[in-house]
Every structure is written in structure tokens, then in C-alpha cells.
């Protein structure tokens, strides 16, 4: 294996910057690639070399396997780091790297295929003795036989149509008494919606918490479990706030989860960094969901509590090296929490809000880490994910990291975009969050967090600030020799109203 002296980073945004930083700390030359929309992006400015990929659409740029491999070969890179998203879990890309003599910094194509196929992964985990969400094969028509199956997996159960989708034919049965009539309703609905009355049962996970274990495995047989992360604060089934350790996991539970995670990845011969995701039900039972065969967005909270640089470890392992420590030397110190800062408007159903960052002040000070790919004056492109930064806070206790996060969110100012910063700030002050009472429906349960708050402090000064801003604007306008043109054009987009105005 050729030593890794130059790495191509096949990604963009904050994660490309994060990987480039690890390369530079290791004395490795970094190569950025960029779409036409990203010529001015920070990762292009940070890297030693940068090459264009093509048009902005991901299919023509960051998903363009042939072009990326061509760039890597012609610039003399030995390895490619895919980051997350885009080509990170793409077995065809991993295989194309190998065929071109390039090291793919991640698991092998065979492992990517084994964990990427959900049905196959579930079967593998059942065989390895890892608990999965209990379910049944298609039910017989006899209600008594169906009731016996339901009793096996335990109430409440979710009745689902085998041919289903879109909630049709779905019912929640809370006990044996209501099961027969609900089965009949679901069967009728399934027959009329899909022409197929076949039903099956799955255990309903009540108030689930999303808890996952970070693993790091090398090709020499070592596999580390680096504690857990809780990622229960989500919107649209995407994580918004993550933390490590989880307030719902004690030392004994952690040992059990870590053992399950190591068993899971060993079952598929996993090498490099990965994450095993579980759901925890209200009774404290854990169920395997899937393996994420890549670096996770939220890897930083694990780095903060373990002190292990996961990106550096990934590159070392891909180059034939070993995991950085022994399992018995892994120490989880304190607590870390991460807020994903997204250019979306939480008050308007998380409507995307791209635009130009007119002013930016990033937080710093004790225990704060801010990973981003932005700068003042940069325009957030509309083609890619709305996540623009990750704010991470560390403290000796969960209470300390939350208070640091709250303080850092007060310092963070991103002008020109509507972002999730106010939402994060309100979550940090939310009593249920501080108590650690989390589940994946948390934001639906607390809709008051989604809208801007009233604040007596602000009420006192807002009118004064607005009056002075207006005075200055009028003054500038008369100095410029008359009124500037405004436009009659309006749209519901929040930036639609200030077209042509630059203060």
C-alpha cells in the first residue's frame, strides 16, 4: 500500500473543511473539488489544490464518480475521503477507487453493500444475536393466530399492510381486546388501497430515543467502541441536536450497547469508522436500526469527550495503521452537545432560507468548537444541504455544556439568513431538555420552541433600535440624492421584501 501523502476530499461545506484540517495536521497535502456554485467556498480556499467538477447539480459534480476519480489520478492523490452524504456510502464509488489504485477512506465495497441493504443487514444482525425491532411475517387470516403473534412481540403493536405505504392500512393496537376489530379495519383498507389484504405486525416503539455507538475498527483485528451519542432532537427525521454521553445511558447500559455495536460490526467484517444506530423504547430496551458506514455529522461530540480525532484515525486506518488506543484506555470525559445550524426558518415548517451572509460573528471561549464552511460575504448556494455550521460545546457535566452552548448561541450572529439559532437557544432553556426527557417527537411536542420568543429585555430596546436604524436609513437616502428604487415584486420568501435594499 502506498503511503498517503495527498488526499482528495470528495465533498463540500463544513465537512470538507474539517477533513482538510486533519490532513494539514498530519502533513498531508489536501485536494479540494468544487462545483461551479462553490468556486468561492471556504473548502476551496483552505485546500492546497482545488479542481472544478462541473455544473452545480450534485449529479454533475459531487456525485460524478468518473470525474472525481480522474481528478484524483491526475493530481497524484493516493486516497479519497468522501465525508458524509454524496458518495460516502456508495459501494460503486468505493470499488471504482480501488480499481483506479486509490485508497477509499472508509469501509470496503463489500461491507458497504452488506450494511446498505436493510433487509440483509437485519437478517445478519438477527443471526448475530443483536436485537432488532420485533416484527412478524405476513399474518394468517385467523384472528386468534394473529393475537398469538401480537402477544409474542408485545403491545402496543403496529398493524401494517404488506403492500403498504402512506399510512394506508396502518393501525396501532394497544391491547388484545381491540386487536380483532383493528385487524378487520386495516385489512379492508389494505384491500381497497392496494388490492392486497395481507397484513403484518411490528412492535410500536413508544417515545423512542435515538442512541448510537461510534466504532473504530482497523484491519488488524482491533475494534473500539467510543461511547454513545443521543440524537433524539430531530426535524423531518433529520438530527438537529446531538450529545454524548446520553442522559439515558448509565455505565452498565453503555457496556451492553458497546458490546452490541462491536458484535454488529464484527459480523460484517467492518474496517474504519462507523456508527451503529439503535432506538431505545420507553422501557429502556434497545433495538438495532442500521449501520452508518461513514463519518457522521455529529462525530465532533465523540471527539470532544474521547479526545480522539476520528478523521485522523480514519486516514491512519485507511493507510494500514491501527486504532489510536486500546479499548481499556478509552476514557469518556465530561459531556458534549452539538447544534446543527441550518439555514431554515423553524417558524415556517423549516423552509429553506439560503442567501448571502451579510455579517457573521462566530462564538468562541471555553469549551466551544465551531465547525463551518462559511464566511461573511459568502452566499449559501441553493443546490445543497441547508446545514451551514455545527456548534459544539464541552463541559465537565451535561449542565455545564448546556450552559456553555446557550452562552455561545447568544454570541453567534449570522446576518442575512434565517437560521435555527433561536430554536437551539430556546431548546437549551427548555426544562424538558435540561432534564434529559428526550424522544424523537420532542419538537412536535414542544411547538412553542419553533417561534421566536417574547423577551422583556428586547421589548425595551427594540423600538429604540428600529427608530435609529430608520433614521440612519433615511439620512443615507437623502445623502445619496433622493430615494432609491424599490420594487413592487413580492413573494413569500423572507428575503423577497428587501430586494434592492442594502442598508
Amino acid at each position: 500500500m502506498k503511503p498517503i501523502a495527498k488526499v482528495l476530499v470528495a465533498n463540500r461545506g463544513e465537512i470538507a473543511v474539517r477533513i482538510i484540517r486533519a490532513c494539514h495536521e498530519m502533513g498531508i497535502r489536501s485536494v479540494a473539488v468544487y462545483s461551479d456554485a462553490d468556486r468561492d467556498a471556504l473548502h476551496v480556499r483552505f485546500a492546497h489544490e482545488a479542481y472544478p467538477l462541473g455544473p452545480p447539480e450534485p449529479a454533475a459534480s459531487y456525485l460524478n464518480v468518473e470525474r472525481i476519480i480522474d481528478v484524483a489520478r491526475s493530481c497524484g492523490a493516493q486516497a479519497i475521503h468522501p465525508g458524509y452524504g454524496f458518495l460516502a456510502e456508495n459501494a460503486r464509488f468505493a470499488r471504482a477507487c480501488g480499481d483506479a489504485g486509490l485508497t477509499f477512506i472508509g469501509p470496503s465495497p463489500e461491507v458497504l453493500e452488506a450494511v446498505g441493504d436493510k433487509v440483509r443487514a437485519r437478517a445478519t444482525m438477527i443471526a448475530a444475536g443483536v436485537p432488532v425491532i420485533p416484527g412478524t411475517p405476513p399474518l394468517p387470516a385467523d384472528p386468534a393466530a394473529a393475537a398469538a403473534r401480537a402477544a409474542e412481540i408485545g403491545y402496543p403493536v403496529l398493524i401494517k399492510a404488506a403492500a403498504g405505504g402512506g399510512g394506508k392500512g396502518m393501525r396501532v393496537a394497544r391491547n388484545e381486546r381491540e386487536l380483532p376489530s383493528l385487524l378487520a379495519q386495516a385489512r379492508g383498507e389494505a384491500r381497497s388501497a392496494f388490492g392486497d389484504p395481507t397484513l403484518f405486525l411490528e412492535k410500536l416503539i413508544v417515545r423512542p430515543r435515538h442512541i448510537e455507538v461510534q466504532v473504530l475498527a482497523d484491519a488488524h483485528g482491533s475494534c473500539l467502541a467510543l461511547g454513545e451519542r443521543e440524537c433524539s432532537i430531530q426535524r423531518r427525521h433529520q438530527k438537529l441536536i446531538e450529545e454524548s454521553p446520553s442522559p439515558a445511558v448509565d455505565a452498565a447500559t453503555r457496556a451492553h450497547l458497546q458490546e452490541l455495536a462491536v458484535r454488529t460490526v464484527r459480523a460484517v467484517g467492518y474496517v474504519n469508522a462507523g456508527t451503529v444506530e439503535f432506538l431505545r423504547d420507553a422501557d429502556g430496551r434497545f433495538y438495532f436500526i442500521e449501520v452508518n458506514a461513514r463519518l457522521q455529522v455529529e462525530h465532533a461530540v465523540t471527539e470532544m469527550v474521547t479526545g480522539i480525532d476520528l478523521v485522523r484515525s480514519m486516514i491512519e486506518i485507511a493507510g494500514g495503521g491501527s486504532v489510536p488506543v486500546r479499548q481499556e484506555d478509552v476514557e469518556l470525559r465530561g459531556h458534549a452537545v452539538e447544534c446543527r445550524i441550518v439555514a431554515e426558518d423553524p417558524a415556517r415548517n423549516f423552509l429553506p432560507s439560503p442567501g448571502t451572509i451579510r455579517g457573521l460573528r462566530t462564538p468562541s471561549g471555553p469549551g466551544i468548537r465551531y465547525d463551518d464552511g462559511t464566511y461573511a460575504g459568502w452566499t449559501v448556494p441553493v443546490y445543497y444541504d441547508p446545514m451551514i455550521a455545527k456548534l459544539v460545546a464541552w463541559g465537565r457535566s451535561r449542565g455545564e455544556s448546556i450552559s456553555r452552548m446557550a452562552r455561545a448561541l447568544d454570541e453567534l450572529r449570522i446576518d442575512g439568513l434565517t437560521t435555527s439559532v433561536p430554536l437551539h437557544r430556546k431548546v437549551m432553556a427548555c426544562e424538558a431538555f435540561v432534564r434529559g426527557d428526550l424522544h424523537t417527537g420532542f419538537l412536535e411536542q414542544h411547538p412553542e420552541l419553533l417561534v421566536p420568543a417574547a423577551d422583556p429585555w428586547l421589548d425595551d430596546i427594540a423600538v429604540v433600535a428600529a427608530a435609529i436604524a430608520h433614521f440612519r436609513r433615511m439620512e443615507a437616502r437623502s445623502a445619496a440624492g433622493g430615494e432609491t428604487a424599490t420594487t413592487a415584486a413580492r413573494s413569500a420568501w423572507r428575503w423577497g421584501g428587501h430586494t434592492g435594499w442594502r442598508g
Binding site: 439555514a343 423552509l351 429553506p352 439560503p354 451579510r358 455579517g359 457573521l360 460573528r361 461573511a376 441553493v382 443546490y383 445543497y384 444541504d385 441547508p386 448561541l409 447568544d410 450572529r413 446576518d415 442575512g416 439559532v421 433561536p422 430554536l423 437557544r425 430556546k426 432553556a429 421566536p452 420568543a453 417574547a454 423577551d455 429585555w457 428586547l458 421589548d459 430596546i461 427594540a462 423600538v463 429604540v464 433600535a465 428600529a466 427608530a467 435609529i468 436604524a469 430608520h470 433614521f471 440612519r472 436609513r473 430615494e483 424599490t486 413592487a488 415584486a489 413580492r490 413573494s491 413569500a492 420568501w493 423572507r494 428575503w495 423577497g496 421584501g497 428587501h498 435594499w501 442598508g503
Partner: protein, 162 residues
């Protein structure tokens, strides 16, 4: 300078004068002497009566949006003279634009349809998500300028409402 403004349901009479670097702001007869500095972007640092405030002030759609942390206060201008001047400049149909490029997924109205303020007219996909663009005011659809599947640039005209 006299300003008529509204915060929520409350109408406010404001008078602002500048005295070198200080502003004297009278709000409903109560006077505030403010050392105000506009810093980078839309940040303002305000010192008044010994208290330090840092806020973001953004102007859009006839209103000042004042933010600090998780809080936002909207101060709407209601100056009648100003309304008359701007009103005179912006008569006629409303042109609904998309301010960002994307792809038209669905068109929800047709020419001749009556629409109400806030009603969705076109769905545009951008940043991997679908977004409904709404009418700013009530009226009748004069024309629809896009078709489903069409790519649109930032600033593209979608619908005209008369």
C-alpha cells in the same frame, strides 16, 4: 424626524433626532439618549442609561426586525405620508417571483383563479426540499409564467396577480 410605528397591536409615536454621535429617541413622550453604533453586517451596539445592548436590525417588507438571541420583535412603520409616497409608486399587478433558483414541482393555480393572501401558487424545489410560494395579497391570477418540471433562475417571474 417623526415616525409612526406599530409593535403588535400597539401604535407608537416616535421622534428621533441626532446630536453628533448621540441619538435622542422620544417614544410616546419618554426620552432616551442613545449612543448607537452600527457595526459589521446588521449589528448595532446601543448604550443607553448605562446599559449595553447588542441587537441585529434587519429591514424588510416595511418593517424592522430586531433580534437578540432567541427573541425577535417586529417594528412596523405606519407613517401615513410614507405610505402615500410608496403606494403611488407601486400600483398595478403583483408579480410573484422566486428569489432562488430551483425546479418548479407543481403549479397550484391557473389564469382566472381567485386567490387569497397567503395562498400557495407554485411549489419550487430547492435545497433538496419542496417550498410553497404564496401570494402576497388577494386578487385574480392574470397569468402563470412557469410549467411543472421547468428550472427557474433566482428572480424568475412565476405568477402575476391583478
Amino acid at each position: 424626524m417623526k415616525i409612526a410605528a406599530q409593535v403588535g397591536p400597539r401604535a407608537i409615536a416616535i421622534q428621533v433626532e441626532r446630536d453628533d454621535r448621540l441619538y435622542v429617541v422620544d417614544i410616546d413622550g419618554q426620552s432616551h439618549v442613545v449612543d448607537a453604533r452600527k457595526l459589521e453586517g446588521d449589528f448595532y451596539s446601543l448604550l443607553t442609561a448605562g446599559r449595553s445592548y447588542e441587537v441585529t436590525v434587519e429591514y424588510r417588507a416595511d418593517a424592522y426586525h430586531v433580534r437578540h438571541g432567541a427573541a425577535e420583535q417586529v417594528v412596523r412603520l405606519t407613517d401615513p405620508g410614507r405610505k402615500a409616497r410608496e403606494g403611488a409608486r407601486t400600483p398595478g399587478p403583483e408579480r410573484i417571483l422566486t428569489m432562488m433558483p430551483g425546479k418548479v414541482v407543481r403549479v397550484l393555480v391557473a389564469a382566472g383563479d381567485a386567490v387569497s393572501a397567503g395562498q400557495g401558487v407554485v411549489v419550487v424545489e430547492a435545497m433538496k426540499m419542496e417550498n410553497e410560494i404564496t401570494a402576497g395579497r388577494a386578487g385574480n391570477v392574470q397569468s402563470v409564467e412557469v410549467k411543472p418540471g421547468q428550472s427557474v433562475e433566482g428572480g424568475a417571474l412565476l405568477v402575476i396577480i391583478e
